[in-house]
Amino acid sequence: MILALETSCDDTCAAVVTPAGVILADVVSSQGIHDRYGGVVPEIASRHHLELVNAVIDDALATAGARLDDVDLVALTQGPGLVGALLVGVATGKALAAARGLPLAPVDHLQGHVAANFLEPAPFEPPFLCLIASGGHTLLTRVADHAGYETLGRTLDDAAGEAFDKGARLLGLGYPGGPALSRLAATGDPHAFAFPTAARVAGLDFSFAGLKTALLYKVRALGEEQAARRSTDLAASYEHAIVEALMARVERAVDQTGLDRVAIGGGVAANRRLRERIAGLGVAVHVPAPELCTDNAAMIASAARWVTPLAFPDYLALDAYASA
């Protein structure tokens, strides 16, 4: 069995997955504490990971009905992410593996999001295009095989999930406001206001910084009272712009590559409008279960199945990396 750890941001995650990709346990301990700061505080995230990680591992093993004796491979997220947070998982995973003489598979977090698609019971086989959109990353990739991906486009500034959260803050919805913004948008008119979709950004790259600024100006122009009265329309139009910005690049990539298979991942994959739009593309679409779209360790275990593991003691010096 594979025991996997994921601590790249603010969720402390451990999973037990079989080599065939069957999930036996997938435990996520979310650190709700960041909400009151209006964003993830790296130092607080690191402190919580350290406090939680061993208990989360115990929980995953117990849920899987397994013991450490049953573990054949330890997998962990090596990067990218918050380096202090990553280091807790890296130090923990290395020590667990070393003390038991097990091999270790270091996994790239973004490859993990891609590999969420390979898990049972409904694995989606390459080749396909994969859009990964969350609060931390936004990229469009071509997945030719199980072991890697080619980046076709990435955000030049904010991540899509970050755009949701920043928009929600401007509308007074608190943090993390993405889901609240989508709920508000459900009853609004997505065409009431025209927000930019970074149409001038060529190719397959994304940009969301201008969108946030456009919403700020629109809210100011309307004035507090009008903005509050039209909050559903503002939310719907803002969400529409994010989804269309994502979809424009996906459609372009489908045209350019001729690939007629598309997968999505990351927290934004839970967005209903994005799901509806992508389902209407007329291509084969795969969306992993919601708990496999947001950060989790099962996807890290999945990716580890195609990583050449490092034998003991070759990984003792392994370090985390912050950026891709």
């Binding site: 790296p42 406090e51 061993n54 591992i57 115990d58 003792l316 370090d319």
Partner: protein
């Protein structure tokens, strides 16, 4: 059963093993001044080295002694995460050891010892001990408050640690004796960590946490 001990509160990585027969083994990594600490890349490798040198496999280790700071946050977390995971993997007892007490225990001789570590941001971590007695519990202080705290200790108190070197001027003016800069007494060694760990009582794995001595910077990313 042997005690395996390590500390990562300072830029150094210090690892030791204390056998039942009293034989001690030590390994350490000291990055040059100003260089990035090597805790992540060296700690486990040094652990394997002392285990090999002592001829003690994991089966011969019964207890872990882990330095809990105060010190650099990231280094402490690497050390404590490693300690907790080793305990989890091997079913070992674990004892948290104050890094400042370990530093003070490394200073030979009698009398009150002020253990002072460079806390960055222009501050110092201080604790003072008279033998087994804690006179000043670990605290983060400005140079001014450090001098005032040390001035209130016994005259001729010895101050050791990288913080004692850094704040030599203030400490000496406050009446402390600070050994020469290069004196090994300023380096936190794994020997005292192992000895304090052997004498202490084990804690629950999940209550082994750093003694941060400072609130986190609450700035979102």
């Amino acid at each position: 059963m042997a005690v395996l001990g390590f500390d990562t509160a300072t830029p150094s990585t210090a690892v030791g093993l204390l056998r039942d027969d009293g034989t001690a083994f030590e390994r350490r990594d000291d990055p040059p001044a100003g260089a990035r600490p090597n805790h992540a890349s060296r700690l486990l490798a040094l652990v394997e080295e002392v285990l090999a040198e002592a001829g003690t496999g994991w089966d011969g280790v019964g207890r872990l002694a882990v330095g809990v700071g105060p010190g650099g946050f990231t280094g402490l977390r690497i050390g404590i995460a490693t300690g907790r995971a080793l305990a989890q993997a091997r079913g070992l007892e674990v004892v948290g050891v104050s890094s400042l007490r370990a530093l003070a225990c490394g200073a030979p001789g009698e009398g009150v010892v002020a253990a002072v570590l460079d806390a960055r941001r222009g501050e110092a971590f201080l604790a003072a001990y008279g033998g087994p007695e804690t006179i000043v519990a670990p605290v983060a202080l400005s140079p001014h408050d450090l001098a005032a705290a040390v001035a209130g200790l016994a005259p001729g108190v010895r101050a050791v640690g990288d913080g004692a070197v850094r704040f030599r001027e203030q400490l000496e003016r406050a009446g402390a004796a600070v050994p020469a800069d290069g004196d090994p007494v300023h380096r936190l060694g794994a020997g005292p960590v192992c000895r304090l760990g052997a004498a202490g009582s084990p804690t629950a794995r999940d209550s082994l946490v750093p003694d941060y001595c400072r609130a986190p910077d609450a700035r979102p990313r």
